[in-house]
Assembly symmetry: C2
Homo-oligomer: 96 residues x 2
């Protein structure tokens, strides 16, 4: 299961030398939840992504992109027609 988002959050948090205990309250959750988010076992809410990027002094677009890429990757994982479907989506997007 793709979890680039959670891994990056952990990396950023450790770079800032912050503990789960320090970050979790900013998101109004406990350390257990944040731990699961970093491990990809729980979903983060979209509005929590911008809070996270503030607390971790990260680029909001970077985190949003990683989060979305994980969603897509999980959706298509194990799907034989994944490549064709992705190409189709890209093609349809360009026609706009």
């Amino acid at each position: 299961m793709a979890n680039q988002f959670g891994e990056r959050v952990r990396q950023l948090r450790e770079q800032q030398k912050l503990f789960l205990r320090q970050v979790a309250p900013k998101l109004e959750m406990d350390t257990a939840q944040l731990s699961k988010i970093e491990k990809g076992l729980r979903q983060v809410k979209k509005d929590q992504i911008s809070i996270l990027s503030n607390v971790l002094k990260a680029d909001r677009n970077e985190l949003s992109t990683l989060w979305l890429a994980d969603q897509v990757a999980n959706l298509i994982e194990g799907e034989p027609m994944a490549d064709e479907a992705l190409k189709m989506v890209l093609k349809n997007r360009k026609n706009k």
Copy 2:
């Protein structure tokens, strides 16, 4: 909301000159449900896709691809970082 899958199903069903009433029972559902599926208001189950492609004499891969493309399109719709995320997913897939 993307619904290439449902539109194609309807097209195929009409080409085969079949009524909802004739197709729905093969999927163990009523006409209302199948109608909603064709309109993209309800999800079809994956194992129903192959049944549909048999009944409608269609290519299972084509329908699977359309279905998956819809899922992805709905997931990323309205997301500012959609293009970057899609590119990231494609790039990660190639490294395998």
